[in-house]
């Protein structure tokens, strides 16, 4: 416990320094934040353009899809804030700077996570929240305490699931340095998929995101619970409540994968 508290304090100091450094160039940081928010908003423009042509998508109307979109976007944005700089991890392997991390007396994953905090990515969170507000206003839901609580819970669980998947896949770089874009297909592709009702995708994709890379638990199952909708996949109702448990499980798996991968690391000699 004391160790965790120490890590939390180090994290705050490192990230605080990163944020202060970026805010030194306030105008530039602001422009980047705005750019990120607009770039993220484009995905929702696509959804709006689709609904300008048809009234529903796989039996979900625009407000319902907006809820899916908001849950998927906000949780992905938090994961991106926390560990988005894992994109630079293959570069550390290539240049051999990962060695420096291994000789320091702190957990390797912690050091990578604490290495950066890109203020511009707050733009993604804000954009997701804007769509969430739209969804909540436009939806006709019989709000219960459970349904209200489900939304923040889904966002936290979703952020954990995304982060875990991201970390587990990033370990591929220990073996194939070039392949970070394959990871992008799962992370950015996964966050894109999670914005849409799962029923419209092919069986193999549905199976993949329910049972293998559990991104269906980021937005789809929690949204089914909040909206009280039928599951197009016909899976057990218990899955609607499973997101927090799935989050814990994927985090544990990611931790094991990471430790094993680090054990296999052989330095480039940097």
């Amino acid at each position: 416990m004391a160790e965790l508290r120490a890590l939390a304090s180090i994290y705050r100091r490192l990230i605080g320094a990163r944020i202060r450094a970026q805010l030194e160039y306030r105008f530039s940081a602001g422009l980047q934040l705005l750019g990120t928010a607009l770039l993220t908003a484009l995905d929702f423009v696509a959804i709006a353009l689709i609904f300008a042509n048809v009234p529903e998508l796989g039996e979900w109307d625009v407000a319902e899809v907006a809820l899916l979109y908001a849950l998927a976007t906000i949780s992905f944005a938090f994961a991106d804030l926390a560990i988005g700089h894992l994109d630079l991890f293959p570069q550390m392997i290539r240049e051999g700077t990962f060695d420096q991390i291994l000789v320091r007396p702190l957990p390797s994953l912690f050091q990578i996570v604490a290495a950066d905090f890109a203020v511009r990515r707050v733009g993604k969170v804000l954009q997701g929240i804007a769509v969430l507000v739209f969804a909540l206003v436009a939806l006709d839901v019989d709000w219960t305490l459970g349904r209200v609580l489900a939304i923040p819970l889904a966002i936290v669980a979703g952020a954990v699931i995304y982060s875990a998947v991201w970390i587990a896949l990033a370990t591929v770089a220990f073996w194939i340095v070039d392949a970070i874009e394959v990871v992008n297909a799962f992370t950015y592709g996964g966050s894109f998929l999670a914005q849409y009702p799962l029923g419209i995708f092919a069986r193999w994709l549905q199976g993949l995101v329910v049972f293998v890379v559990p991104l269906a638990f980021v937005a789809y199952f929690p949204a089914l619970y909040v909206l009280g909708k039928d599951d197009a996949l016909g899976l057990p109702e218990a899955l609607r409540y499973a997101s927090p448990a799935v989050a814990v499980a994927t985090a544990l798996v990611a931790g094991v994968v990471w430790r094993n991968a680090v054990g296999h690391y052989r330095s480039a000699g940097g």
């Binding site: 980047q32 770039l39 696509a46 297909a185 894109f192």
Partner: protein, 265 residues
């Protein structure tokens, strides 16, 4: 001309040096292709035609746009490589050479595009033919104009990226504007959603922008839905943008060169 050819070959080889990255990029495009294809199939469950595109046209759109993604560089380092050289001052070396910076950059970019066309667009198109029922034009003439339109799209894309890179002669930090420009490009080029989905006359207006000329135009030509109903008009519009952007690039480059302050000496 000989120099341009050599530079283009260098541009090609620079990307050919990383086959793993090509394969990974191809994989990502295919994943997104599948996702967008299923989303559009769900749209066409409820309607037969959107803005002239039927379901087979829409599927052709998905796979051609994913294939051309890297060819016309919707995203990628070419959006900021030169800007970074301006920021670091390395551009001073480029300007000392007795060569036109824009022309050499163009030659290299054509080599880059050729590589991406061969190794990313073509494999994806073959895959789409095997897995999905997409529109396949049966007249040879349409394939020919499609090819010309793709070539023009690359040149338009170069023009836009070159101008944006030059903005760093005036801006100390190019990243914000670059992000914004990439966002605008994604939407208005038809990368995110076919421009046929824009309602009413908005669909026509967005097709007149240079962004549409870099991606949607060749696809419109391919499926036989050119803006204004005429393939000639589309090619003329693309050519006009190529020339306008190139001329603007020359002007801005010479203005930038005059004002050049090499940061950090």
């Amino acid at each position: 001309m000989r120099l341009d050819w050599e530079l283009a070959r260098r541009g090609y080889r620079r990307y050919a040096a990383y086959p793993g990255a090509t394969l990974a990029g191809l994989f990502t495009n295919v994943v997104f292709g599948f996702l967008i294809a299923y989303i559009l199939l769900a749209v066409y469950e409820q309607t037969d035609v959107v803005g002239g595109y039927d379901v087979r046209d829409a599927l052709a759109y998905v796979w051609i746009s994913q294939g051309l993604f890297s060819v016309v560089a919707i995203f990628g380092p070419s959006w900021w490589e030169l800007a970074r050289r301006v920021q670091t001052g390395d551009v001073a070396t480029d300007l000392q050479r007795p060569l036109d910076l824009q022309r050499t950059a163009l030659a290299e970019d054509v080599g880059r595009a050729a590589y991406q066309l061969l190794w990313r667009a073509v494999p994806q198109f073959v895959l789409a033919l095997l897995l999905f029922e997409i529109t396949i034009p049966d007249e040879a003439a349409r394939w020919l104009v499609f090819g010309v339109s793709v070539a023009l799209a690359v040149l338009v894309s170069f023009g836009i990226r070159f101008l944006l890179n030059l903005s760093s002669f005036w801006l100390l930090d190019y990243r914000g504007p670059t992000l914004l420009a990439i966002g605008v490009t994604n939407l208005l080029s038809g990368m995110i959603v076919p421009l046929a989905f824009f309602p009413g006359s908005l669909g026509t207006i967005v097709r007149l922008t240079p962004f549409a000329s870099m991606l949607q135009a060749p696809i419109d030509v391919y499926v036989g839905e050119p803006v204004g109903g005429s393939v000639g008009l589309v090619l003329a519009l693309q050519l006009a943008w190529v020339l306008t952007l190139y001329a603007a690039g020359q002007l801005v480059l010479s203005a930038g060169t005059r004002k050049l302050v090499v940061q950090g000496g």
